[in-house]
């Protein structure tokens, strides 16, 4: 059971932001991505290859981590929380589009434009990050398969797969670094990926549309948050 003791950050009225399946999927995926970045850097940089050597072993670790990359999310789909959150990440309201446009502006103007927009459990930046990460993961997997099992593919495709894999890897590292930076700037949000729980104050600041879906504190004792979520759509 993931129900925290009352001393848990966020207090007894805290919300369940991520269930256990989502948290496990997140951290296993994170470990795989770090492994892929480290071994991939050694495979593509001569300087690092000189330090590490053993190309065959590094290749096999990179291959295994790459093939395993989709598994945590696929297994996590068995849980209701991840399925519901993937649905949320997929769907963009008109407010999300406006939010993302506003995010391109300087801080003061951004705040002005963000006022009045309804942000649900995930803001448009998080939705874009999720879509990019999913698409990039699939493209990295496909190009990696062409590079490793090269026999069926024309030589030009093997070259194209290598080029695509290299440049997309750089983009993924940059985007993942941004993801980590945002997490480090918001310790409560980061903690929620460890404990699953987040305070109502946080939700009011960052995800008011999601907070409005939640049962009120008085009801929380009787309703199971995960079960209540899909039914509570009225803002």
């Amino acid at each position: 059971m993931t129900t925290p003791p009352p001393a848990e950050p966020g207090g007894p009225a805290a919300l369940t932001r991520f269930d256990r399946a989502e948290r496990v999927a997140h951290w296993v995926t994170a470990g795989l991505v770090v492994t892929l970045a480290a071994t991939g850097a050694a495979l593509s940089s001569g300087t690092l290859m000189a330090l590490v050597g053993r190309r065959r072993a590094v290749e096999l670790v990179h291959l295994a981590a790459g093939l395993a990359l989709p598994l945590p999310v696929l297994v996590g789909l068995a849980g209701r929380g991840l399925r519901a959150d993937l649905g949320r990440l997929n769907r963009w309201s008109s407010d999300d589009v406006a939010w993302l446009r506003a995010a391109l502006h300087a801080a003061a103007e951004r705040r002005r434009r963000h006022a009045g927009l309804v942000v649900g459990k995930f803001n448009a930046g998080q939705k874009l990050n999720a879509a990019f990460t999913a698409g990039a993961g699939l493209v990295m997997l496909g190009t990696g398969v062409i590079m490793y099992w090269f026999h069926p593919w024309p030589l030009a495709w093997r070259s194209g797969a290598t080029t695509t894999h290299d440049w997309l890897a750089l983009a993924v590292v940059v985007v993942a670094a941004g993801h980590v930076r945002f997490a480090l700037r918001d310790p409560e949000a980061l903690r929620s990926m460890r404990t699953g729980r987040i305070g109502r104050d946080w939700a009011a600041r960052h995800a008011p549309g999601w907070l409005a879906e939640q049962p009120r504190p008085g009801e929380a004792a009787t309703a199971q948050p995960a079960a209540a979520e899909p039914a509570a759509a009225e803002p």
Binding site: S45, T47, R55, G160
Partner: protein, 256 residues
């Protein structure tokens, strides 16, 4: 999944953003599909794009420190392979190349010996079987045939085995392949002495074949009764006859 929804769609409980009834459009899925399309385009057209980027970047990266250039995709073009711990550097002054096996007169060469022999210069691509390619690399050294001829192979010799002083990597060619004028023992690359990472003091360069035939850190050439499959041909599913564009599953023309 459901198709694009209209503002009249009843609340479905996902998103929770926007006015009631705005379930939102599946932008996430479209982004993923768009990236898959771009990825496929990159596979099909990426070679030309990659070559273009490398050509633009080369004047910049050739002046940058070698380590820096190698961190940029397509920086100096080469990916450095070593199958043991690090690079097995050898002092060019004490390095020796042995020719032995089924020969009448085994021989040992210093780097100075190679440099005193008739020299061959080739400007040819370096093509890896996995796809990466460095166009127009200048190689300089002596033909393999010259070294073999000097030791007078025994009639029973039909193949040549190459050993790296890394202690692990081996490669091989048939005697006929070894006699080609575009198969050389190279001690200079791009106008400079061959560096440690590229297999110095000297390596094999088999121009018509994929890179894994071009044994780096060469220290021994042995005439053998038959072809002995090399490192990747034993470790992985690589062809022993590694003609670029005519092996390893394909018989289409070489890139470039």
């Amino acid at each position: 999944m459901a198709g694009p929804s209209t503002p009249q769609t009843p609340p479905a409980g996902v998103g929770g953003a926007g006015p009631a009834g705005d379930r939102g459009r599946p932008v996430g899925r479209r982004v993923v599909l768009g990236m898959l399309g771009l990825g496929a385009a990159g596979v099909v057209a990426g070679r030309r794009i990659g070559d273009g980027v490398a050509a633009v970047a080369r004047p910049l990266t050739s002046r940058a420190p070698a380590g820096l250039a190698s961190l940029v995709p397509g920086g100096d073009g080469f990916r450095i392979y070593t199958v043991t711990d690090g690079f097995p550097a050898d002092d060019p002054a004490t390095w020796r190349l042995t020719v032995d096996g089924l020969v009448a007169t085994p021989a040992t060469y210093t780097l100075a010996d190679l440099q005193a022999m008739p020299r061959t210069r080739l400007v040819r691509d370096f093509q890896c079987v996995t796809g990466w390619r460095v166009p127009g690399v200048a190689w300089e050294g002596v033909t393999l045939q010259a070294l073999i001829d000097r030791s007078s192979p025994h009639p029973a010799a039909t193949a040549v085995r190459f050993e790296s002083f890394d202690g692990t990597y081996t490669e091989s060619l048939t005697l006929a392949q070894a006699a080609r004028p575009d198969v050389i023992v190279a001690d200079r690359m791009q106008g400079r002495p061959l560096s440690d990472e590229h297999g110095g003091p000297a390596r094999l360069y088999v121009a018509p074949m994929y890179g894994y035939k071009s044994c780096k850190w060469l220290s021994r050439i042995t005439l053998t009764p038959r072809v002995e499959p090399g490192y990747w041909e034993t470790e992985g599913n690589y062809d022993v006859d590694a003609w670029v564009g005519a092996s390893n599953g394909r018989d289409d023309p070489a890139t470039g």
